[in-house]
């Protein structure tokens, strides 16, 4: 059973980019288009890894993360935060909230792919 990756971003083009970046491996991709959808999707599909955009309409990435981390089943789920907000304060806030990796936009899709691979390997 291939690992399931949840991609949360309100920009379709970015979701496409992440999906294409991860196309080298056999992942099951699930997409969510805003904060609320992200929480719902996570609960329903229980992903192995979440790629989370920080700035989304509705709930922000941080709010989504803290909600998910409060549930035991998501306590250990690896989360990669993608954000256009690249200041140190943003990064610190994200890491404090329990983000495993932090990638600033624009990001390298190859790097993202290897980070995903690395995190999923570590888990398995």
């Amino acid at each position: 059973m291939p690992p399931r990756v949840l991609i949360c971003d309100n920009e379709e083009v970015l979701r496409t980019l992440v999906r294409d970046a991860l196309a080298i491996a056999d992942y099951e991709i699930v997409e969510a288009r805003d904060g609320d959808e992200s929480v719902q999707a996570a609960r329903s599909c229980e992903p192995d890894l979440i790629v989370l955009d920080m700035m989304m309409p509705g709930r922000t990435g941080l709010e989504v993360l803290s909600e998910l981390r409060s549930e035991a089943r998501f306590a250990e789920t690896p989360v990669i935060m993608l954000t256009a907000r690249a200041q140190a304060s943003d990064r610190n806030a994200a890491l404090a909230a329990g983000v495993d990796r932090f990638l600033a936009k624009p990001f390298s899709p190859l790097a993202l792919a290897s980070v995903v691979e690395e995190l999923l390997d570590g888990r398995s």
Binding site: E11, V13, L14, L17, D20, R33, A84, K105, P106
Partner: protein
Amino acid sequence: MTHAIGRKKPSRLTRIPAGWLGVLFAVVSLASLALLAHLSVSIATDAVKRDAEARMVSTSSLSAEVVRAELERLKELVTSYAARPSLVAALRDGARTRAENQVIRQHLDELRVARSGIATAFVVKPDGTLIDVVPATPSIVGKNYSFRDWYIGLSRTGNAYISQAYRTQAGNRKLVVAASTYVRDGTNQVGILVAAYGVDFLQEFVSGLATAQDVTLSITDQRGTLVATSSRTPRELISKRADPRVAAALAGETGVVQLDAGEGHQLSAYSPVVPDLGWTVTASVPTSSAFATVGKLRSTVLSIALVLGLVLLGALLVLVRVLRARQRAEQEVRRLVNLNRAVLNAAPDAIFMLDPEGRMLAQNTATYALSQEDAMRTGRADPDADENVYERLREYDAPTDVEQWRRTIDALERDPELEVTYDYERTDGRSFRVYTAPVRDGARVAGRIFVHQDRTPEREAERMKSELVATVSHELRTPLASILGFAELLRHRDVDDATHERYVDTIHGEAYRLTNLVNDFLDLQRIEEGDFTLTLDAFDLAELLGEQVAVFKVQSIRHELQLELEGDEEPLTVLGDRERIAQLVANLLSNAIKYSPDGGPISVRCAANGGQIEVAVSDPGIGIPADQQQHVFTKFFRVDSSDTRKIGGTGLGLALCREIVDAHGGRIGFESVRGEGSTFWFTLPAVHRANGHGPRRILVVEDDPAAAALLGDYLADEHHTFEFTATGEQAISRALEDPPAVICLDIALAGELDGWQVLAQLKANPATAQIPVIVCTGRNGRDRAAALGTADFITKPFSGRRIRDAVARVLPSGGRGTVLVVDDDPAVRALVRETLVRDQVKVREAADGEEALEAIAEQQPDALVLDLVMPTLDGFHVLDRLQDDPRTKLLPVIVLTARRLSGEEHDLLKARSVSLLEKSAYSPQELRALVDRALVDAA
């Protein structure tokens, strides 16, 4: 809180101008000084005068006594000679022997020398016939002298007698007085013995006396004839009877009198010598010498008074100067205090100063307002004047970080030298910055100043700015992430052709999006900063809408674009920047298409609505949720819902639209229902007839489209066409190419030239100098405009009537109206006709009231010029009739009359709001102005 900068009332005295005070003091003190001087002089004068008078009286009495004694002695001498027996014997018979004659001669000789001064001595018979005389004068012997006073006086009194003065016929014909006495033989009078005493000897005597007494003496006889004076010997018989002193003395009185003697005043005393002798003595001294001591005293007193007065005046002058300087200094201090207070109060920041003990020394109104606000919030009373304000500041609980606040206040109170700037935020969300520093008076610390600045707007602006930066950064990074990401995938992964093409398309699309974003953002930025100019042009909006609809029709086949034009009988002309309006329409159409993903009809409606043209773009799309509608025109805002995610956009388009419409003086808005679609609309100022080329074209030079459109609106009628330009350069070139009838010129213009430069250039060029220019501006400069030769100067905002009046005045207009002139004098009618016809007014005439009413009934004129005094029906009756008819009730009337109107008639005319022009004050300009106004009223 009390206002520490108090206002002390100046004392009443210091409010009187120092100059007046000085004059008052000078008058009072100099007057009393003068009074003092006058009193002392007059008291002294009185004393001296009394003394001088006493001296005069005593001198005159003494002199009278001496004269009397002298003359008595003369009388006695003559009497003693008359008693000599040999003389008596010699005179006893009528016939005298030679010897007897010799005896007589001998006695006479003796008598003559018995006393110096006896000029002649003689003997007469009792009947007055001269018997003998010495010195011998044979020629007069035998003559009768009974007419002489010595004879008459003697025969009257019977005793020895001193005569009046007379000129003797004997010897040297001197002036003499004579002492006569009878020579008696028993009781028989045998002769009269006379000794004539020369007045010159009397004179010597008087002189001696006068010198001794230091007076002028004069002696007069019983007839008032001057016998002797101390000054000179009388050579003639001079009567002094008219002299009041002599007259009084002759009446037996003694007295003192002050007389004007011609060369200065004289003080005189007079005395009768003896009543029986009948002589008088007058003693005189010049007032100047009598009062010499008084004079000396007076001059001394006056000198002292003068010196005192000068000293006093000098002192007063100094005092006044000092007082003035002090008043000026006080005024200056007051002015400075007021100025300082005004300066402090003008500051928006709360500024106050505490003394080292923490008491309030001074505060401005902003401080007062702030502390009032605090008092309202906390319900605490204002602090007392001697309260420690640090205490109160410590208790201030509005800051979010109260601990930090208290620490700061403590530090400030502890260290008077501390200079610090600190920011704090309040629980109500407002931010403040406080600057505080010691206030030094020389080396001493006099207190501490606090400048309390409300930084809420700045903080808000900062916050918004950083938010904007974050947003822009986010908006830029998203397409950048796509571009770089897909490019990287292209470079490092082998993908099939379809994927390759998709990547390239995505990169291209995102780059395009990035470009649009940057362009929109820069556009918006420029508009917001006001760093762009609209190129104003009047153009047909319908044509522009047609073009844009055509463009977008090609872009989307799924949508049916429809253009509906309403009110199409005249072109929908607006004034604006065609390119910007095109951008605006394109944005709205693009949104309509984007947010109607399912296709459908999109309509563009355009309609004239009053002075505005309204354009509405309606789509059947997804609509805007009600809770998000308020943000639609905010930068970077994009409606967020699952439906909109696929729709790209910068979030700047509508913000840009709003800026463009605002710049044109229009309005923009929308109605939208979620899921049913949206209608975005905007309005632009309409222009009625633009770019005409007739002779009555008005060139409007104005960079504000709303103002230009308003002007066009105001002036719109069948006689005017308009052309609009926004820049001075364009205005000048248009005026040269196709001179308009009149130019309405704004001063603030887009482009390099301002209105003044345009005006100067127009007036300097003979080709355009004659075009009347009306300056319409919000600025000052009426005088400057007049100097440059403008026809009129109108200040914004102005009324339609004002600009219409101005244009009507400078613009020759045909058929502006009909004026009926009613006057029985054909010359007056001709004059009015000539005046008005040149002004393009049609003039009809009527010779009297009846004719006027007929003419009005036939065809109503636009105004009436009416004489009051006319045959048949006079002007007042005409007015009454017009008033009674509803059709003519509002007809403007100008009364042109030669008659002096009574007050009642004036009131009557005023009540009917009739203009009045007296023929005596007639001028063509005045009449034209009145008719102009009447025609505007009628219109």
